[in-house]
C-alpha cells in the first residue's frame, strides 16, 4: 500500500468515526467538537485565499458575520426557514467577496491585509448602525425556541453534523483545488504574481474566484453558527479575534496544504480548552506565548514541518530560525 492510500484510508476511517461519534459522546462535547469543525472550516476557507494564493486576508470574519446576520435577519424579520436562509447567506458571501475583491484585490502584502481588516471592522460598524434591521448593539434573536420558530431548534447533535458536513465539503473543495489547474494558478500567483501574469494566467479572475470561494464557505459557517447561538451581537460575529484565531490555526497547521487547517484547528482548540480549565487566570497570556514560540520555530506549519522531519530524519527546529532571522 502506498503512503497516499494509507493516508486516504486513515482519513476515511476518521471520517466514519466522526460520523458515529454522537452515539457515544455527550451533548456538550458534541458542541465543543462542532466548534472545532467550524473553526477548521474557517481556517480551510482562509487557506484558499491566504495559503494558496498568498493573499493574507485579515478580514475574513466579515463573511462569517454577514452569513450569520443574513440568516438572523431573514429568519427573524422575514420569517424564513433556516435552509433557504442558509442558501441566501452563501450567495451573499460570494457576491460580497466579488464586489469587495474588485478594489481590494488590487493591493498586495500588508496593504491587502489592512484593507480587508478595514472592511471587516467597517462592516461591523455599519451593522451596529442599522438597529431597525439588525438590532444594532442590542443584538438580534432568531426565533428558534417554542412555537414561534420557523425552523425548530435542532439541538447539539444536529449542529455537530452540520458543521462536520461543512468541514468535509470545505476540505474536499481545498483538495480539489490543490490538484487542479486553478490550484496551480493560485500557487503561481503566490510565488510571483507578475510572472504568473506573464505566462498567461488571468490573475484577477483567479484571485477573485479564490476570494469568492473563501467568502462562501465562511458565510456558510457563520450562518450555522448564528442559528446555533440564537442571539448574536455585532462585536462577537465580526470580531477580529476570530480572524486571528483561524489564521493562527491555518498557519500552525500548515498553509497551502489540505490537512493543515484541520490539524491546526483541532490542536489549537484542545490546547485552548486545556489551558482554560487548568490555568484559569493566565490562559490567554500562555496562549500568546505559545503563538510566539510557534511562529519562531514552526513558521511553515506543522504539516510541512512533520514532512521535512520525516524526510530528513531529524527535527529541523533551529533551521527555521536560521533561515528566517535577520
Amino acid at each position: 500500500m502506498t503512503g497516499r492510500r494509507i493516508a486516504l484510508v486513515a482519513a476515511g476511517a476518521s471520517l466514519v468515526y466522526a460520523a458515529l461519534a454522537p452515539t457515544f459522546t455527550t451533548g456538550s462535547l458534541l458542541r465543543t467538537l462542532g466548534s472545532i469543525f467550524m473553526f477548521a472550516t474557517l481556517a480551510q476557507a482562509w487557506n484558499v485565499i491566504g495559503g494558496f494564493a498568498g493573499y493574507a486576508s485579515f478580514g475574513n470574519v466579515v463573511f462569517f458575520g454577514l452569513g450569520g446576520y443574513v440568516v438572523a435577519v431573514l429568519m427573524a424579520k422575514a420569517r424564513w426557514g433556516f435552509w433557504p436562509s442558509l442558501l441566501v447567506a452563501i450567495v451573499f458571501g460570494v457576491v460580497f467577496a466579488v464586489l469587495i475583491g474588485l478594489p481590494v484585490l488590487r493591493l498586495r502584502g500588508h496593504y491587502f491585509a489592512i484593507a480587508t481588516l478595514g472592511v471587516a471592522e467597517g462592516t461591523r460598524e455599519v451593522v451596529l448602525n442599522m438597529p431597525r434591521l439588525t438590532g444594532g448593539g442590542s443584538g438580534i434573536t432568531i426565533p428558534a425556541l417554542g412555537t414561534r420558530a420557523t425552523t425548530p431548534y435542532p439541538g447539539n447533535r444536529a449542529f455537530y453534523y452540520y458543521f462536520l458536513v461543512l468541514l468535509v465539503a470545505a476540505t474536499a473543495v481545498v483538495w480539489l483545488i490543490s490538484r487542479s489547474r486553478f490550484g496551480y494558478a493560485l500557487r503561481a500567483i503566490h510565488q510571483d504574481e507578475d510572472a504568473a501574469g506573464a505566462v498567461g494566467i488571468d490573475t484577477t479572475r483567479a484571485k477573485t474566484a479564490a476570494f469568492a470561494i473563501s467568502g462562501g464557505l465562511t458565510a456558510a459557517a457563520g450562518a450555522i453558527f448564528a442559528f446555533q447561538q440564537v442571539t448574536i451581537y455585532p462585536e462577537r460575529l465580526f470580531s477580529v479575534e476570530i480572524t486571528v484565531l483561524f489564521v493562527v490555526m491555518a498557519v500552525i497547521g500548515g498553509t497551502g496544504t489540505v490537512a493543515g487547517p484541520v490539524v491546526g484547528a483541532v490542536a489549537l482548540q484542545f490546547l485552548s480548552e486545556y489551558l482554560r480549565s487548568h490555568y484559569l487566570e493566565f490562559h490567554t497570556l500562555i496562549f500568546g506565548a505559545i503563538i510566539i514560540v510557534a511562529v519562531v520555530f514552526l513558521p511553515q506549519g506543522s504539516v510541512s514541518f512533520v514532512r521535512e522531519a520525516i524526510a530528513e530524519r531529524r527535527l529541523p527546529l533551529l533551521d527555521n530560525v536560521r533561515r528566517n532571522r535577520l
Binding site: 510566539i292 513558521p299 532571522r325
Partner: protein, 294 residues
Amino acid sequence: MAQFLQATVYGLLQGSLYALVAVGFSLVWGVMNIVNLAHGAFVIMGAYVALEANLTFGLDPLIGMLIAAMALFVFGYLVQRLLINLVVNAPIWMTLLLTFGLELFCVNVLIAVATGDYRSIATSYAARGFSMGSVRVPYGRLISFVLAITLTAALAAFMNRTRTGQAIRATGMDRVTARLMGINVRNIYAVTFGIAAALAAACGALIGMVGTFSPPGAGALTLRSFVIAVLGGLGNMWGALAGGLLLGAVEAWGGQYLSGTLVNAISFGVLILVLIVRPTGLLGRPFYEARVEV
C-alpha cells in the same frame, strides 16, 4: 457655527494625539516592513509607567512621559533584537502573528499586574482651559498638540541630521547595500523599533493625562494607527501627523453632523477610500514599499 469651530478645534487637538501614536507605527512599517500589532500595547504600557511615576513619586505626567519613553525604548530594543529579528525573513503574516502573540502576552501581563480597570493620571491643569470666543481649548490637549508636533519635528531632524538617523533611512531603502556599507542592520532595526516604542510610550503618558486608558483598549489604538499610517504614507513622519490631524477632524465633524455612533465606521471608510484611491497615502510618493521619507 460655534459648534463647527469647537468640533474642528477639538478634533484637531484629538487628532494630534492619534498622530503621535501612529508616527512610530508608520516608521517601523516603512523602514522594516513590519506591522507591529502590539503597538497599542506599548502605548498602554507607557501610560502605566507614567501613572506609577505619578502615584509613587508624585511626578507630573510630562516628566513621567520621559521616563516612560526611556523604559519602553529599552523594552522595544530588546524585543526587536531578541525576538522579531528572528522572523524578519519569513512570509509577511509571520510578523503579524508574532506581534499578535506579543500583544496578547503584554496586555494580559498588564491585566494580571494592574487589573483591567480604567485609569487616568490626575493633574490640576489638564481639564482646565481658556476660551477663544465660544470655543474652549483645554490645556491638556493643547500641550499634547504642541508636543506631538515638536516630537515629530525632532524625529524628522533626527532622521535627517544624525548618523543613526541616516543609517535607519539607508537600511529602509536597501538593507543589503546598507549592510555592505558597514551598517549593523540588526542593531539599527532594534533602534528603530525602540524609537517607535518610546514614542508610543510618550503618547501613552499624554493619553493618561487627558483621558482614560485600560489594557483592553490597546487594540483600538493599534487599529487607528493603521488607518493613519496608510493615510499619511508609510514611513512618512509628517504624513502620519497630517493623517492624524485629518482623521481627528473628520471624526469630529462626523460625530457632530451624523450620529455619534458612526465615528468608527467613518475612520474605516476613510481607510478603504485611501487604499483604493491612493494607496501610497496623502503625502507618500509612489516608490518602493519600504522607504522612509521625512
